[in-house]
């Protein structure tokens, strides 16, 4: 597979996954705010913080409000992580590899993009839930087509890799931001409101119902354990890392538990760290520190995937000059 094509596969999936995560996260929090006790200030900052673009937001919008946050995260073409920017980037990548993906995949993605560009902003402000559901469904359709129409060969594994690394990153950020906000509210412990808050965190990763089946009652420790360390839930960080590792090894042909490049080495180490971790230990040493270190290591894995598979290898002494897309 051409390096350029592989890179576009990877980023196409990453951007769609990112759009879906933004949509779900905004949607859940809009609903959560409806449940807040009267008089309590709406928490808009964490939404922006989760995307990691708080500085950019601060600079351009200043005050956080329902309108400004929704606009920034959905329609702002200058925000590279807004839903419209993600879909546009996914579509541009898909356009450059149309011959490698099925027509159905392309049409689905093109549809999703056209849908967002044709939706009036006012409509999203009044009917946000429908809009964000449409985005999630569009992403799921695309993933379904990827899984069911495309051969599960190299290209598909690059799609997997992009999707899973993005998902691991977003789940960890959601946990990081929300845990930090929820923890100080000791007074709320075991109140209905506390339950709702932790439930919203689970909803933000579409994890609520699966969590209930696994643990039943909601407790902060179990929520963190489920989102980070569960082996079967497809949005938990450990699950994403394990499946990403499998795809990486399918691409290179190197057996699992060994490595032939720095991406495999880094991802293998990261996956083991999660596979043998315990939630109590993580919380004792500091969840934020743990997740911060995780994100740095995950970025390194992304860089090493780029260096190993996408960067133009120099031939006969020519100099290599390429640039990766943004993380």
């Amino acid at each position: 597979m051409l390096s350029r094509v592989a890179e576009s596969m990877y980023w196409m999936s990453r951007y769609i996954e990112r759009a879906e995560n933004v949509a779900r996260f905004v949607d859940v929090n809009l609903q959560l705010i409806l449940d807040q006790p009267i008089g309590m200030q709406a928490q808009w900052e964490p939404l922006v913080a989760t995307t990691g673009d708080d500085e950019e937001f601060e600079k351009r919008y200043g005050e956080t409000s329902r309108e400004s946050v929704i606009k920034f995260l959905t329609f702002d073409t200058e925000n590279p992580n807004s839903i419209i920017s993600c879909l546009r980037a996914a579509r541009e990548n898909a356009r450059s590899i149309r011959e490698n993906i099925s027509s159905e995949m392309w049409e689905q993605l093109n549809d999703a993009y056209l849908m967002v560009t044709e939706t009036p902003e006012e409509w999203v402000m009044t009917e946000p839930h429908q809009f964000f559901t449409d985005i999630k469904v569009a992403s799921h359709l695309f993933m379904g087509q990827t899984d069911n129409i495309m051969s599960h060969s190299e290209g598909w594994h690059f799609c997997q890799l992009g999707r899973l690394i993005e998902r691991a990153d977003k789940t960890s950020r959601i946990v990081d931001v929300k845990y930090f906000i929820l923890l100080p509210s000791v007074g709320d412990v075991n109140t209905p409101f506390d339950d709702i808050q932790w439930g919203a965190l689970l909803h933000s990763a579409s994890a609520f119902e699966m969590y209930r089946r696994t643990y039943g009652l909601i407790s902060p420790n179990n929520v963190v354990a489920f989102l980070l360390l569960d082996r079967e839930f497809p949005r938990s960080v450990l699950y994403c890392l394990s499946k990403a590792e499998e795809s990486l090894h399918a691409i290179s042909g190197t057996p699992l538990e060994s490595f032939s490049n720095s991406a495999e080495q880094g991802l293998g180490q990261l996956r083991s760290e999660f596979a043998y971790a315990q939630v109590d230990q993580i919380l004792r040493t500091g969840l934020h520190e743990f997740l911060d270190a995780f994100q740095t290591k995950l970025n390194d894995v992304g860089d090493n995937i780029y260096k190993t598979f996408f960067a133009l290898r120099p031939v006969n002494g020519e100099s290599s000059q390429t640039q990766s897309q943004m993380q």
């Binding site: 051409l2 350029r4 450059s96 011959e99 490698n100 093109n110 056209l114």
Partner: protein
């Protein structure tokens, strides 16, 4: 209401109706069907089809357009129909033409017999911008230069069909032929099944056959790649469509590298050899070491590999010399010289401005003629005398006098028309036809081709970059 009542041919040759308003024999059944559709049906289907094009992302990029780069190529639902007998004649004419042009191109890069025998003047060939000295003495694989041609045909007011130009460079539009047919089947299945229509969907497999035919027999599983300038090229959709339909790699210049005397692609597993390149970039940009040194689209060192016979390039570099509009005017003589036959489908009569008598005539009648630069296409660099202002006439007259070799002129043809759905009724619009011809083991002409329609009322320019649209083109099978 969208029926044909009240449709007026306005004195033009109409592809569907004879001057007395009767449907021509080949389209009678189609006209009857359309007449029986419920009110509003056509318009509804038309809207559906346009939205389908947008969804499928069948768009082209407009270079000088600031409002978003992508546009759909407008599509009109009523097919253009060509009967079996007329098509048989066109097909014979095109095969004859391509065979002769290939011999001509090979000759001008080798012994130049046609020049020595005084049939085509040396100045005409050698002064052409598209005659590439770097290609002298080259022997392309299997002796074929012009593998893919998209010849433009037009019909004049009296019903006569002429060849307008050959487009041996990188003719585009064939993807629309295939997609238009699919779109028709999707949005208007009711129209099919009334007559036998020649299929066009096998074009990609015929193209792949031809490309693989060019590889030496020693290569067991040849690697074919389609070289595109990238996603911002106006024909990018077509590049990607053809690569997808053929199952070959779509590459950009930066994906290719020359190593150990062969062309390689950069893949995730290292370098992989390529044997055939269907290139959709012009000669100038192919290899910065040989042609335009500023080109970033091509591959440095490609021509060296080509000369050694280790890569096949489609079309062969240098082929475009026969696209020069002055050279094109000599095609009747070229066919006579190499094949000893008379031309079957005639050229549009052409005045060559570098000949004193012709130039005098052109300058005196510039307000009646179409003047074209010898090396421009896509509707650029031309003057349509009857539609132009005095200032434009004078401008072109000055340009002709300054560089007569660079201009030809042709009578302004009353291009034939077809009915096009405009809002809720039909109006006549001018059309041309671009059949596609593949030259591999034998010569194949895709039945029909791309019918381009000048959608602006009265316009004679059918190019997509200038407000043209397209129609599905049906060649009817011979009922016998």
């Amino acid at each position: 209401m969208a029926r044909f009542d009240g449709y007026n041919t306005e004195g033009f040759f109409d592809e569907m109706f004879s001057p007395d308003g009767k449907a021509r024999p080949a389209v009678q059944m189609l006209v009857e069907r359309i007449a029986n559709f419920p009110n509003g049906e056509l318009i509804r289907r038309q809207i559906t089809s346009e939205y389908a094009l947008l969804r499928m992302g069948i768009t082209f990029n407009v270079y000088a357009d600031e409002q978003g780069v992508e546009r759909i190529f407008p599509f009109d639902l009523i097919p253009r129909i060509i009967d079996a007998a007329e098509w048989e004649w066109i097909e014979r004419g095109l095969k004859q033409r391509i065979q002769a042009l290939n011999l001509f191109i090979d000759d001008v890069y080798h012994e130049q017999k046609i020049i020595k025998d005084g049939v085509v003047p040396a100045e005409v060939v050698l002064s052409s911008e598209r005659y590439l000295e770097q290609c002298i003495g080259l022997d392309p694989p299997r002796g074929i230069w012009c593998h893919i041609t998209g010849t433009d045909l037009v019909r004049d007011g009296d019903g006569q069909i002429y060849v307008l130009e050959d487009n041996l460079g990188c003719p585009s539009g064939v993807s629309y032929v295939v997609e238009n047919r699919q779109l028709m089947k999707r949005t208007f299945p009711q129209l099919f099944g009334m007559s036998q229509i020649e299929p066009v969907e096998d074009y990609p497999s015929r193209l792949l056959d031809m490309l693989q035919y060019l590889v030496s027999d020693r290569v067991l599983s040849p690697e074919v790649a389609l070289l595109t300038p990238g996603i911002y090229n106006s024909a990018y959709f077509e590049h990607s469509f053809l690569a997808q339909q053929m199952g070959v790699e779509l590459v950009e210049g930066r994906d290719l590298v020359i190593m150990d005397g062969y062309v390689h692609m950069r893949t995730t597993k290292g370098f992989e050899r390529v044997d055939v390149i269907y290139r959709r970039i012009n000669d100038d940009f192919l290899d910065p070491e040989v042609f335009n040194p500023e080109s970033l689209l091509g591959v440095p060192g490609l021509m060296e590999v080509y000369k050694s016979g280790r890569i096949a390039l489609i079309n062969a570099p240098g082929t475009c010399v026969a696209d020069d509009k002055v050279v094109c005017a000599y095609v009747p003589q070229i066919i006579k010289y190499y094949l000893d036959q008379d031309i079957i489908v005639p050229n549009v009569p052409t005045y060559m401005c570098w000949e004193d008598d012709d130039r005098k005539y052109v300058l005196e009648h510039i307000d009646e003629l179409v003047v074209k630069e010898a090396n421009q296409s896509g509707g650029y660099g031309m003057l349509i005398g009857p539609h132009a202002t005095r200032a434009e006439h004078e401008d072109f007259a000055d340009r002709i006098k300054a560089n007569p070799r660079n201009y030809i002129a042709q009578p302004t043809l009353a291009l034939s028309r077809v009915p096009v759905l405009i809002d809720d009724h039909f109006e006549g619009r001018h059309v041309d036809l671009r059949p596609f011809i593949l030259y591999g083991e034998d010569i194949y002409v895709l039945p029909g081709g791309l019918t381009r329609v000048a959608l602006k009322k009265g316009s004679l320019v059918v190019n997509s970059s200038q407000g043209g649209g397209s129609k599905d083109t049906w060649v009817l099978s011979d009922p016998t």
